[in-house]
Symmetry: C2
Amino acid sequence: MATNKLKIVPIGGLGEVGKNMTAIEYGRNILIIDAGGMFPEQDMYGVDLVLPDYTQYLEDKKDWVRGIIVTHGHEDHIGALPYILKEIDVPVYATRLTTGLIEVKLKKNGMEGAVSLNIIEPGKSFNIGGLFDVEAFHVCHSIPDAVGFAIRTPVGMIVHSGDFKFDYTPAWGEPTDFGKLAQLGNEGVLVLLSDSTNATRPGFTPSESTVTEGLTHVFAEAPGRIILATFGSLISRVQQVIGVAAKHGRKVAVEGRSLVESVERAQELGYLDIPSGVLVTPNELKKLPDNKIVIIATGSQGESSAALGRMALGQHRHIKIKRGDTVVLSSRIIPGNEIVVNRAVNRLFQRGANVVGRNSNVHVSGHASQEELKLLLHLIKPKFFMPVHGELQHLHAHAQLAREQGIPAENMNVLENGMIAEFTENSFTVSDRIPGGYLFVDGNRVGDVGRVVLRDREILSQNGFILAVVHISKEDGQVLMRPEIISRGFIFVKESGDLIAQAEDVVMKALPAKKPYDTVRKALSNFVERETGRQPMVLPVIIEE
Amino acid sequence: MATNKLKIVPIGGLGEVGKNMTAIEYGRNILIIDAGGMFPEQDMYGVDLVLPDYTQYLEDKKDWVRGIIVTHGHEDHIGALPYILKEIDVPVYATRLTTGLIEVKLKKNGMEGAVSLNIIEPGKSFNIGGLFDVEAFHVCHSIPDAVGFAIRTPVGMIVHSGDFKFDYTPAWGEPTDFGKLAQLGNEGVLVLLSDSTNATRPGFTPSESTVTEGLTHVFAEAPGRIILATFGSLISRVQQVIGVAAKHGRKVAVEGRSLVESVERAQELGYLDIPSGVLVTPNELKKLPDNKIVIIATGSQGESSAALGRMALGQHRHIKIKRGDTVVLSSRIIPGNEIVVNRAVNRLFQRGANVVGRNSNVHVSGHASQEELKLLLHLIKPKFFMPVHGELQHLHAHAQLAREQGIPAENMNVLENGMIAEFTENSFTVSDRIPGGYLFVDGNRVGDVGRVVLRDREILSQNGFILAVVHISKEDGQVLMRPEIISRGFIFVKESGDLIAQAEDVVMKALPAKKPYDTVRKALSNFVERETGRQPMVLPVIIEE
C-alpha cells in the first residue's frame, strides 16, 4: 500500500504542456522525462533558446532527482540537457541514437564525458533510484529510436506515449508493437500521458512511406538539381531521400553544419543505410550533370543563416540557384516562421527555381491523429487520463476524445505547465501551481534576461532611442552649451536636421529645472511624440560642470 | 491603330504582385487600380503600415494620373489612399459601400471632403481621361459591392478580376454574373489580370453560405455567450452572424472601434439587413441571460490591443471570459500571426471558454480556387494572361494552370512588382524594372524610416545598447574620472554589477587613444561579446574637458 502520493508535474510556460519536461515525484524521489528547448517566439527579443524553467521547481529538491529518461533525440526533448545537467549531476537514460545525439549536444557545450549516459533498449526494464521501474517501448515518430515509457511506481503504472504515431510502414525500423501496448494495458495502467499535438486532426496521420511516394514523384519530374531542405534531426527523412536518390541514379551531398553532424553521427551508429557511392562531398558535385545531383540542406524554416536561406539570397559560397533547380521543402513550417519561409520561396522563384512543398506529399506529421489516439486509449485502458504535448486547445480536444471513448470526466484533468497532478490508487486531483515559466538563454548566459530587459528591447525595436547630452552648471543648473542629440533607430537623421534642431531647442527651454533628468526626458518625449507620433526611449545624459 | 504601347505596372515590394496597386499607362495617361496598405512583417520593426512605394514610379509623372479606380473596400486595397491622395489630386471611382469605407478612412486622416469621390455602378461604363473606358462588373468576395474592371483602351480590353470567387450562394448580393463575363470574352479581351491567391488550391472554394451552416451548428451547441471575432471589414460575416443570431433568438452587440465604425457605415448605406431589435448596445447585454448573447468583436489576429485580445488577457473593461463562453474565430489567420493567435486561444481556454475555429467551417476564403480560375479563363478567353494578386509561387502556379487551359506560354508573363508589362495588339513583353519597393508609415510620418533605421532597430531589439560616458582631458586625452556605463535591453543590471564594473575597467584601460570614440567602442564591444556572447549596440559618449 502506497503511503506517499505520486505526483506528475509538467514544467514550462504558456505553451505546450509537458512537451519539453515532465517530473515524476514520489516521496523524496524525482524522475525527469525529457529536457528540451524551444525556439524563441517573436516577442522574445534577442533570446536564442527558451528552456522550461526547472530552477524554481528544483530549487530545494535538487538532491531528490534520481535520473532523466529521454523519449527521443529531437531538440524540443534534449535541448535543455546541457543546462540542467550543469545544475544537477544525475544519470541520463536513452536509446542508442538518442544517446548519440545527446553526446553531440554535450560536446558543443564543452561537457563531453562529464555526464553519465546510459543506453537503454525497448523491452528491458531498468530501475531508477530503487523506486521507479522503467521500461521503454518502441514508438514510430519522425526520428529513429523513439520510445514511450512504462514507469512502474508504488502507486501504479504510468504510461507516457512520448511523441508518437502508429505507422504500419515507417521509414525506419519496426512498426508499432501493438502486442507490447496491449500487454501493458492488460497488466493495468494507473494513468496514461498521451501526445495531443494532433488531437484536433481527424482520421489517421499518413505513413512516412507516403513521403517516399511523394519524393519519387518529385524526383521523376525534376529536370535538374534537387535541393531538399529539412531539419537536421529528421534522420528518417534523410534516409528516404538517399533511398529515392539511389533509385534515380542521383548522388547526394549534405549542406549545413547541423545536418552534417547529425548525419555523421547517425551513420556511425548504423541508423543510415547508404548504398555505396551515393553520399558524396559538395565538392564532388562539380563533376556531375545537374540531373544526377541531390543536395540535402538546412534552412527549411527560411533562416537566412542556414544553407537554403543563403542560396535564396544568392549568398551561398558554392551553390547558385538557377533555372531548372527544384527546391523541396520537406518539413513542417514552425508557426511564426511562415513569413520568412514565404520570402525565401519568393526569392528562390525569382532565381528561377521551382519550389515544391505542402501540396506534394513531401512531408507528413510525426504525431498521431484522432483515430490513433483512440486506439492507444483502447490498448492501454488507463484508469486515469492526462493529455500532454499540446497547447490547451489540443489537450481539451484530447480530453473530449477520451470521454467519447468511455473514460469518465472525473478520471481526467487538463493540466497547465506548473500544475501538480496527484495520484493515489483511486484518485487523480490537481493541486496548487508551482512557480515556473520560461528560462531564456541569450548568448552564453542563462536567466539574466527577464521581463524588464525584454520590455526595453521591445521599446527599442519599435522606435529606437534618443540621447540628449546636456551640460549644466553645478551652481545654478543653467545650460552651459547647446545639447547634443544622438539617436539610433528613431528616424533617418540626415533628412531630419530640422527636427533635431528643434529638439535641442526643446531641451534648452526645459532648463534649468529641479530635476533636470526627469524634466528633459518628459519635454523631449512629449515633443517627439507630438511631431512624429513615435515613442522612442528618451535618455538624458546630464553632465554637471 | 494604336501608336503608343499599353503598359501595366504592378507596384510594391517582394510580396503579392499587383495586390495593393497597379498602374495602367498609355501615352501620357495613367489610371491606377487600387491603393492599399499592408500589415508590417515582423522584421519591419516599429512600422505601423506598409505602402507600395508609388513615389518613385510617379516621380515625374504625377500630372499623368487621370484617376484611381477601386475594386473593393478592404484595407489592402484602400489603405494607401489617404497617402497617395495627398500627393496627387485625382478623382476616385468606387462602388457605394467601397466609397463609404473610403470616406471613413479619409475622415480619420483629416481629409474629409478634400477628395473627389465618384460612386460607380456595375454595368455602367464611364470614361477616364478621355482614353480609358471603364466598366465595373460585380464579383463575389468576402465584402459586399466588390467589383472587377473591364478597361477598354486604344490597344484593346484589359480585364482585371479584382479579388474574387465564384459563389452561387453568397452571403450578400447576387451570385457572379456569368453572362457579363462571357459577353466580355466574346467582345475580345487583350489581357486578363486574375487573382492568384488560391492558385495552388485544388477544387472550388466553398460558398459563404457554408459559413452560415457552420455558425448555425456552433450556435445550436453553445451553452452560454457566443463571442465571435472577425475583421472589421468582413461586413458579409457580420450579416451572417446577425442572421443566425436572430434565428436562435440571440441579441448581438459589437465590440471594437473599427468594427463599430464599419458596421455603422454599412448599416447607413443599407448593406446590413438587421431584424428589428437584434442589434443592441454592449450595455443592454447586462439584462440578458448568457444564452441570448452574441458579441461580435475585433481581435481575430490575437492582437492584445483589440477587444478579444483584451478579453483573453482579462483586461477588457466590461466583458470577463468565463466557463460556458464559446469563442468563435471567424477569419483567416494572417501569416505571421499564428503564435499570437495561439497564445490568445490558450488564454481563453485558461479562463474557461471553449474556442472554435478552423475545423468548424466558421470561415471560408474569399478567393477563387483552381477550378474557378480555370472557369474565368474560359469565360474571358484572353489573348494574353498576366497572373496577379499572389506571391511568385502562386503566380507561377496560376500560369501553369493557364497553360493547361491552352493559353500559349509565349502569351503570358509572370511579373514581379516594379516590372513593366508592355502590350501591342500582338505582343506582350516585359521591360526593365522601375525602382520601387515599400514605403513605411511610422507614427504620423511616411518614408523617413528606411534600411539604416530598421537595421538599428533590429540590433537594439536583439541585445539593446550600452552607453559609456567618458570624461577625458582636452590636453592629453587622459581619463578624468571613472566612466559611467548605462545599458538598456542588454542585461539585468541589478544582478550584473560585476560585469558593469569590469566594463568600466576595460574603458579605463583603453585610454588614452588617438581616436577615443573608436577605441572605446571596439574595446567595450569585444569585452561584452567575450563575456556574454551578445552584441549590443555600443555607443561611447566622449566628453572632453
